[in-house]
Symmetry: C2
């Protein structure tokens, strides 16, 4: 077991304990009962009838936010409100994306729109986004310093999802377009999460910039691995079907890399996928094999490792608190390698 495999869960769990009360207070302040119910469901705190449950995610973004404050000041305090804000924005986007993508399951439970209806799920997302802004406003000066970063990341997040929807309808997609889009959908909010605590805590520009780059590269690495798992992931670990992206006909970075730089295997894959997403098991197996043969899996894994290294490299020589920098590196490594 590597060091990050112990250190990261410890950091995540420690910070979850710090952020959780503020997170619950933020949601409790929603005056509309239905919005509170759906937000609580989305966050894994309650079932559809409001009974307590425990189905939350790993809360990576709040952890990064708190660590980025700690890295600058040595204490978590300045990162708590930003942590709440980024987690609210993340869950706003999950609620909405599930509606748009017609995803019916998340974290082994039916998605929000399946349980509460499309309209209510969209509204709860809106309430969470608005609440995120309110939380930073209520924090005074430190919140105001960090709000522009949250808003900018939200716009890039929205744009990423929009491009994802557009690309679905297109015949040909370049690898750059996919990486850009995935950057918007994943890396932008991770970049914000990784720097917003430092911003709130008054960290200087170079530190904030480096932490932002850390989060961006981490985000791309994370997404590349996600795309690898979408082809060759172990269903027992990922909780998804085998070759899930292949079955869905998804043009992920790995699939597009295979199609555009995959030699003969890539050409055969293109022929196979020209008929649409493979519908019989034999074709799923063949398409998966062709992606592997194309070298795209190897490319994505190598690229993810390079991005992770670039992320971790940002943390040196900035005068960051050593233990926080080590936690940031551990969380990044853990997140990228979680199911590989």
């Amino acid at each position: 077991m590597t060091r990050s495999a112990i250190q990261a869960p410890e950091a995540l769990s420690r910070i979850k304990g710090l952020v959780d009360p503020a997170m619950r207070a933020a949601v409790a302040a929603l005056s509309d009962e239905t919005m509170r119910l759906i937000a609580g469901y989305q966050l894994g705190w309650n079932d559809k009838d409001g009974r307590a449950s425990d189905a939350g995610g790993k809360a990576i973004r709040p952890a990064l936010a708190v660590l980025s404050a700690e890295a600058v000041t040595g204490v978590p305090d300045g990162g708590i409100a930003p942590a709440v804000a980024v987690e609210l924005v993340h869950n706003f986007s999950l609620l909405h994306d599930d509606v748009m993508d017609r995803d019916v399951e998340r974290r082994h439970r039916p998605t929000g729109w399946v349980v509460f209806g499309e309209g209510q799920a969209i509204l709860a997302g809106n309430a969470m986004l608005t609440r995120a802004v309110e939380v930073l406003m209520e924090t005074g000066e430190s919140g105001l310093r960090s709000l522009p970063c949250l808003l900018a990341a939200t716009q890039v997040l929205i744009s990423g999802q929009s491009r994802d929807l557009s690309l679905e309808g297109r015949e040909t997609v370049t690898l750059d377009e996919v990486i850009d889009m995935e950057g918007g959908k994943t890396a932008a909010l991770l970049a914000c999460s990784s720097s917003i605590g430092a911003l709130a805590a008054g960290g200087d520009g170079a530190v904030v910039k480096a932490l932002e780059t850390f989060g961006w590269e981490l985000g791309i690495a994370f997404q590349l691995v996600d795309d690898v798992l979408g082809v060759i992931g172990d269903p027992a670990k990922t909780g998804k079907s085998s070759s899930s992206d292949v079955r869905a006909g998804k043009r992920s970075s790995v699939v597009v890399a295979a199609l555009s730089n995959g030699g003969t295997a890539g050409e055969q894959l293109a022929e196979l996928l020209a008929k649409g997403a493979p519908s019989v098991e034999e074709d799923v197996t063949l398409a998966t094999k062709l992606v592997v043969d194309s070298g795209a899996i190897e490319w994505a894994n190598t690229e993810a490792d390079a991005r992770l290294q670039k992320a971790v490299d940002q943390l040196g020589s900035l005068g960051l608190q050593e233990s926080s920098a080590a936690d940031l590196a551990a969380v990044a490594t853990y997140v990228v390698n979680r199911d590989r």
Copy 2:
């Protein structure tokens, strides 16, 4: 022709000229091309392919915002950014509500989701909401003073739409519940619009409070008249079918007033509607007649007049700039009486 019928359009048109450049700059600052295209379509500036068009609304909310700043300072300046922000939030909610309500036409054009798809319309709404917050942030101190009011109104707006969706599925609805819900959907943002300019301009608490009440009462009056028009409106004026709310089986304030306080006519209406929305023309005509016979139209008109009067009464004895107070009263009277 009454005084307000001349004075109000003049004020609306003067202020539209002041706000329009800032509004266009705010939307132009959206970095995503698709989001800009949809926002421009929603605002009536362009068609679906980006060609210039002129299909905008009356821009009541920006006018109220600017007038509320003028009422305090004598100049419009402090109200411009708040005007942009409330109009962006208004259009965010229109884009989303049209998706949820499956409305296919607005201002004689197909709605955003019909043209661009559900997902892109939801995203463009999100981009406009986020942009509204950014616009106030970018304005510095005056924007920050007014941001909490915008966020609070947005939450009430979201809650109003959520209750509207919930009430649709319910068998019995009380008049109080409908008025509360309609207050959330219409009055909350009008209350914010009518006071946000004063807030931004540093108006004192009593003035801000009075302007907020002005906007709230105006909003309820506006909605009551809208509900009257939904039963007996002239299609040539409203641009909707005759008896549109009756046809849609909508439980508007007027319909619920007829059902709950409408005597024998109300009871007959309840029997008729128990079978669902009237599907044949004969039943539509009968239901419309029963609403009229119940006295609900008269009640709503009288209540709207009282609310409008209460709104206008707020404008006296606060030391407001006289001409701006007169414009506010004229716009309120014009908006409430537009198609009656």
